[in-house]
């Protein structure tokens, strides 16, 4: 987490979970970044990440995906996993950022 802060990378997590769930979950896990609520999946749809009927009760949810966006608003890097159980490692994001910004890692 500190590695992201020192590089000036802001993190925002997005899901269909409502505000209250995000507040509780964020507190419980001790996360310091923002959790954004998209209960109607509008933004998830805008990013074409909707995974229909994949929720626990067949709800439409987001597929796991990560996007690194530069200050001009351009997508610098993205990761769309093909396996819901396999997620990106934080180190991979940091490495990508460092390479693009011409710094050596750590």
């Amino acid at each position: 987490m500190a590695d992201f802060d020192t590089r000036g990378i802001r993190i925002a997590a997005i899901s269909v979970d409502p505000v209250e769930t995000n507040q509780r979950h964020r507190k419980k896990m001790g996360y310091t970044f923002s959790f954004l609520a998209d209960p109607n999946a509008e933004v998830i749809r805008r990013y074409d990440l909707l995974h229909q009927r994949a929720g626990p009760k067949g709800e439409d949810i987001s597929r796991p995906a990560e996007f690194l966006i530069d200050p001009s608003g351009t997508v610098e890097w993205r990761n769309l996993t093909e396996n819901a159980a396999v997620r990106v490692r934080p180190q991979e994001v940091l490495r990508t950022f460092d390479e693009r910004n011409g710094k050596t890692s750590r």
């Binding site: 802001r10 925002a12 997005i14 959790f35 805008r46 990013y47 996007f67 966006i69 997508v75 819901a84």
Partner: protein
């Protein structure tokens, strides 16, 4: 043989536990190992039950437990290797090099946050958007 059945049950439910660690999450070695151990114990149990019926009981329960364990293993494998790979195509998801679609969403305190605000805030050199499945 009973132990073998129990290990199969443990192998199924310990998945929840092992997913917390990246190494056992990306590929569930620990769970598959437990299933393997369970299988060996069940086979030993079956041989004993049929080979020395005087010493070991379980000629009825043995096959039942073995079948139940196999079903558990089959369901686990199905979930593991098939369901998790059923992903939407996301052909229209923003590509590298294009402008990320803007949005405004409420954060955990109900405060409206715009992507442009996040990008424009002091000292920010990049924003990492993490879309996740939710239902926490």
């Amino acid at each position: 043989m009973w132990v073998g059945f129990l290990v199969a049950i443990v192998a199924l439910f310990s998945f929840e536990f092992f997913v917390r660690f990246p190494m056992t999450r990306d590929f569930p070695w620990a769970n598959l190992s437990l299933f393997a151990i369970a299988g060996v114990l069940l086979v030993i149990g079956l041989f004993r039950a049929y080979g020395q019926p005087g010493v070991y009981r379980g000629r009825i329960f043995g096959p039942i437990l073995t079948i139940v364990s196999l079903v558990i293993f089959a369901l686990f494998s199905y979930a593991l290797f098939y369901i998790v790979r059923q992903m939407p195509a996301s052909a229209a998801a923003p590509q590298v090099g294009v402008a990320a679609p803007g949005f405004t969403l409420p954060d955990q305190d109900g405060k409206q946050v715009a992507l442009r605000e996040l990008l424009g805030s002091d000292g920010t050199r990049a924003v990492l958007l993490i879309f996740y499945r939710g239902y926490w």
